[in-house]
């Protein structure tokens, strides 16, 4: 239980606390100077707030260093068990503990969050209309959100998970509504919050009900002080009806978060109105909490109900895959389009999870990482493109021939797009193939219906690329410059990650393979034959 024996340094707590410190430092940098009295925020305040963004960047890079340390302390040979664990009593009266620990999947998702934040900070360097005080607050909020994201992926306590799951809505809400660039950002923020809270409150009822399923200690008449630990809630003898209701409540919250058809409608509004950096964090990391929750909470806590609900969920997942792709093709706003592609991709992830095969689940887990990188790349590069438009238009029709004026931008955008459509050699391909193979073993019909989405993906990616980057140079973007060093760094890191994970997926798969086996075991299924052979084959 006490993981402190393995490695004495509390890496995960460090990863949780450090972003908060960095956020405080960011918001305090130059705070003494205050806002110039005239109300014009630039000018006098520029120097101090300029250092604030540097502070935020350095803070996020130190976080990356901490992450490297955590990877060093993690043993991939036992990736299926929680490592780096720390357990402290938090609210014994309610059975809640501060219990963190990571298995391979959660570590990769922590890595995704920690890795994307410096890129988001770099991408936001000149955002918020040159108002440095706003930028400073924006970056501090991003860092606070990062701390929450680490906790939520590392939580081994359902209460802790729930608390952070809900609490992180507040910074996310301000990122959308307070710092967004779209005209309807307040509407989008409120919609996001209400959707998420509605799901969250339904989940709360199930969390309470689940807690009360923990047997009472006959000696004291109380429930154990660590009743909420995931391991204590796993394998409870639940009444089938109660289990199904609780599963449904958890799943609803996660499906809204993921987002899955038919509760995805908040997502396009958010991506259209938030800054690309916010969208990156929200769609690429925060929404993974939904699929992560399905994988690490729904499956082990409610195995019977998961099996019971799987057919319906597979149908919804396939609908998501196709519906998201078709709607993406019809979009005229590039950020909205990327939002819809994510609905499609999340459909793949959910399909993979509910195959209950090692292959499908490890594919889904790997896809959570890949989707984060490729969609993050699309959002940030689309953001760079939009920044080159004099009116900052998000309409695809307002661009054209961007490749001629900004070749590096065009090239990297194309790579990110090709990864989104799962071109072999790029990261998403490996995971998508794994999901398809895993699903084919159990739900061949679903795969047959979902496969056309690959073609649809090619349509929405290539069509967008063609309209924005090829042909006549659009009248308004004639004088656009290519990526500068800062932007090239962001694009370069993301594209490199996509290529490396696409060509050498083996090391990353080492992190997800064992946890996938554990998940299949939890849900009480066995892998259909032949599975591992196909996996090795797909890796070439």
């Amino acid at each position: 239980m006490e993981g402190m024996t393995m490695s004495s340094f509390p890496w995960l707590t460090a990863l949780v606390v450090w972003p908060l410190v960095a956020a405080l430092a960011t918001v305090l940098t130059g705070a003494g100077r205050g806002r110039p009295a005239s109300g014009a925020a630039s000018g006098g305040g520029a120097f101090s707030a300029g250092s604030a963004r540097t502070v935020a960047l350095v803070g996020s890079l130190v976080q990356v260093a901490l992450l490297v340390g955590a990877f060093g302390a993690f043993d991939t040979s036992t990736a299926g068990t929680h490592q780096l664990t720390e357990t402290y009593a938090w609210i014994p009266a309610l059975g809640a503990s501060y219990a963190v620990g990571v298995d391979g999947v959660s570590l990769l998702l922590v890595a995704l969050s920690v890795g994307l934040v410096p890129l988001v900070i770099l991408a936001a360097w000149r955002e918020q209309g040159g108002d440095h005080v706003r930028l400073r607050r924006y970056l501090a909020t991003v860092l606070v959100l990062l701390s929450f994201m680490v906790v939520v992926f590392a939580a081994r306590d359902v209460f802790l998970f729930y608390v952070v799951f809900e609490a992180m809505l507040i910074p996310a809400y301000f990122l959308i509504g307070g710092f967004g660039q779209g005209a309807q950002r307040r509407y989008a923020a409120v919609k996001f919050l209400l959707f998420s809270l509605a799901g969250g409150l339904v989940m709360l009822a199930a969390v309470v009900a689940l807690y009360l399923q923990v047997p009472v200690d006959p000696a004291t008449g109380l429930r154990p002080e660590d009743a909420f630990l995931t391991e204590n809630l796993t394998g409870l003898a639940l009444d089938p009806t109660a289990e199904r209701l609780m599963f449904a409540a958890f799943f609803l919250a996660f499906a809204i978060k993921a987002p899955m058809f038919p509760v995805h409608t908040w997502l396009p509004d958010v991506t259209q109105n938030a800054t690309p950096g916010t969208s990156t964090l929200l769609i690429c990391v925060l929404d993974k909490v939904g699929t992560f929750g399905m994988l690490t909470l729904c499956l082990p806590l409610f195995p019977q109900a998961s099996r019971w609900a799987a057919p319906a969920i597979i149908v919804l997942a396939v609908i998501s895959i196709l519906y998201g792709a078709i709607l993406a093709i019809g979009q005229t706003d590039v950020l909205r389009l990327i939002g819809y592609t994510s609905v499609s991709h999340f459909g793949f992830i959910i399909l993979g999870i509910f195959t209950f095969t090692s292959l499908g689940i490890s594919g889904a887990s790997f896809m959570m990482l890949n989707h984060g990188i490729s969609t993050g790349a699309l959002f940030l590069l689309a953001g760079f493109t939009i920044a080159r438009h004099p009116r900052r238009s998000q309409q695809i029709a307002d661009y054209g021939g961007m490749r001629k004026v900004a070749p590096v931008l065009g090239g990297t955008f194309l790579v990110a797009g090709l990864s989104a459509l799962a071109l072999p050699g790029l990261a998403t391909f490996v995971s998508e193939i794994m999901v398809f193979l895993g699903a084919y073993a159990r739900w061949p019909a679903a795969v047959l219906v979902a496969v056309p989405a690959v073609v649809l993906a090619a349509v929405y990616v290539l069509l967008t690329y063609q309209r924005m980057f090829t042909g006549e140079v659009g009248a308004e973007v004639v004088g656009a410059k290519d990526l500068d060093v800062r932007e090239k760094t962001v694009a370069g890191v993301l594209v490199a990650a996509l290529v490396v994970l696409g060509l050498v997926p083996g090391p990353a798969l080492d992190y997800v393979r064992e946890p996938a086996g554990v998940s299949v075991e939890h849900v009480g299924e066995t892998d259909p034959e032949p599975v591992l052979g196909a996996l090795e084959g797909s890796e070439q």
Binding site: S38, A40, L94
Partner: protein, 575 residues
């Protein structure tokens, strides 16, 4: 006939006595202390008395927790751990309430009329205002009301229960009528409160009479033992009498906590009363009344047979569901911040009822934690309302800017105040890492434990609706540009914010069309119509304490939960 002096354990009475005695001294101060120092003396005395009451509660704690109860003069005064817990909450909240009441802001005016006796709009009133008169009777009145609240849950005697109800209500009726501004509204509120309150008192008294007629005693515990007596099942003789009696007593108490369908007075009274008094009422009266209700209902439920208890439970279920629905649905369409908070307090009365429908100790624990969490957030929220004022074209500070449109963009003018207010709202909405979440968690757990899971489900849905109107207010403060920005040319963001104006209607789809509609006229004003006053310290202290309390109870609630668990033990007391 020989007269035997009763032996009175004065120590047990001390939490109440300190406060009532200070109230009496306060009245004498009114008569004998000169004008200049009177206010200062009253404030110090009031705070000292309330702190003394908290200390007395703390000193009694161990004794009562060990013995299970402390008993004075045949139960006319009865301390149980739960009672003491309620007293602690009431006294602590009253201290914070008095801090808000005592704040005069930088204008030098408090929230109370210079002379409450003056007819509004008369030259006499103007003269009193110009003379700078102060109504320092406020403080003894607050002390008397608090004394009544401390006594309310702490008696076994139904007559004393009624007296406590009157002692706490009568000063409040007066206090409600004393607002400095919008005096007619204030007097109307007081009159409504008085009429409906007297009605409720009469109903309760009738209920007490019926129970007396049935059991031949006004002692709850004795009545309980008579009911449960195995030998003589007098319950079978006249069940209607005791059912009606219990029902009427419960109705009287439900009126005080503002539960539907007895909530009608709440919005009007909360809106009309001086805001510091509203905060005081919303937090302290609710805590005291819930305490009394839980004590009476729990005790009586022990004596009722299975079927009658089931009926009582069904009644409470109906009240809880109705209250939550009325509070949240009506709250969602309010355009006045005080009315919005009033409906929110109705909704919270519903959540509180959910906690104790099962008559379990878990429920009592949840109630204690909930009134503390709710009280802190509510007091803090009303304290913030006292500082947000209207001003006219010449910059003269007027009354409180309670219309929601005035709150637009508050975060830009007063970021800290808006942050605190948002925190209180988030806590009321039950967002994790605030006290409200732990409180709500406890309430729903108690309901599920008691088998009342449909109530928990309704509660969850009601919470979702409630979140909607709390968030609407936060959106207004934090994300909506302030009204004067439309013309303030120096702001670089004017162009973009101008574009946003039509989209308020779209915002309305998410929040309410009302916000967008009411913003439009405000934009035409020449000068910023709203000003945030700096407090003279008292209110700031109260707001800071409330905010810290809300966060601490949300992040590290263990101590408070332990305390509430310790306080929530119900053992029947032998008379």
């Amino acid at each position: 006939m020989e007269f035997e002096a009763p032996v009175i354990d004065w120590a047990v009475l001390s939490p109440v006595l300190v406060v009532l005695a200070a109230g009496v001294v306060g009245v004498l101060i009114e008569a004998f202390v000169p004008d200049r120092v009177r206010r200062a003396v009253q404030v110090v005395l009031t705070l000292a008395a309330l702190v003394g009451s908290v200390v007395a509660v703390a000193l009694l704690w161990d004794r009562v927790a060990t013995d299970g109860f402390a008993f004075v003069v045949n139960g006319t005064f009865l301390l149980t751990p739960f009672t003491l817990g309620i007293q602690a909450v009431v006294a602590v909240l009253a201290i914070l309430g008095v801090l808000v009441i005592a704040d005069r802001t930088r204008t030098g005016d408090d929230a109370f009329a210079p002379t409450a006796a003056a007819v509004p709009g008369t030259t006499y009133e103007d003269a009193a205002r110009e003379a700078g008169l102060q109504q320092t009777e406020i403080y003894p009145l607050v002390l008397f009301a608090t004394g009544g609240m401390l006594l309310f849950p702490a008696t076994d005697n139904l007559i004393v229960l009624f007296i406590a109800l009157e002692v706490l209500s009568l000063p409040l009726y007066v206090l409600c009528a004393t607002a400095r501004r919008r005096r007619l509204l204030s007097q109307e509120a007081a009159f409504k409160y008085f009429l409906l309150g007297s009605f409720a008192s009469a109903i309760m008294l009738f209920g007490i009479a019926l129970v007396y007629g049935f059991a031949g005693t006004v002692s709850l515990e004795t009545a309980l033992f008579r009911m449960a007596q195995p030998g003589g099942p007098i319950l079978e003789l006249m069940p209607a009498l005791v059912i009606a009696g219990v029902l009427l007593i419960t109705v009287g108490l439900l009126f005080k906590i503002g539960a539907a369908p007895f909530h009608m007075w709440t919005p009007d009274v909360y809106q009309g009363a001086p805001t510091p008094i509203t905060g005081f009422m919303a937090a302290c009266v609710k805590a005291a009344a819930v305490g009394a209700l839980v004590r009476v209902v729990f005790t009586l439920s022990l004596g009722l047979d299975e079927e009658l208890r089931r009926n009582l439970e069904v009644g409470l279920w109906a009240v809880a569901i109705l209250t939550m629905l009325v509070g949240t649905v009506a709250g969602a369409v309010q355009t006045d911040v005080k009315r919005l908070l009033a409906y929110s307090s109705i909704a919270h009365a519903g959540f509180l009822t959910v906690a104790f429908v099962g008559f379990s100790e878990t429920g009592a624990q949840a109630v204690l934690f909930y009134v503390l969490a709710y009280g802190l957030a509510t007091l803090g929220a009303f304290a913030v309302v006292t500082l947000v004022r209207e001003q006219d074209a010449d910059g003269v500070v007027l009354g409180e800017a309670t219309h929601l449109s005035h709150w637009a963009g508050l975060a830009r003018r007063a970021p800290w105040l808006a942050a605190a207010f948002s925190l209180f709202l988030l806590s009321m909405a039950g967002i994790p890492l605030t006290a409200g979440f732990i409180a709500k968690f406890g309430v729903f757990s108690a309901a599920v434990v008691a088998g009342a899971w449909p109530l928990a489900v309704v509660g969850v849905l009601a919470s979702a609706v409630a979140v909607f109107f709390y968030v609407r207010l936060i959106v207004l403060m934090v994300l909506t540009p302030p009204a004067e920005d439309a013309e303030g040319a120096q702001d670089a963001e004017v162009a973009t914010e101008g574009q946003d104006a039509p989209d308020l209607a779209a915002d309305g789809a998410g929040s309410s069309a009302a916000a967008g509609r009411t913003l439009a006229p405000a934009r035409t004003l020449r000068r910023a119509p709203v000003v945030v006053l700096s407090s003279r310290g008292f209110a700031t202290v109260a707001i800071v304490i409330c905010a810290v309390g809300v966060v601490l109870l949300g992040v590290v609630p263990q101590l408070a939960l332990d305390w509430a668990g310790q306080a929530a033990s119900f053992r029947p007391v032998q008379p």
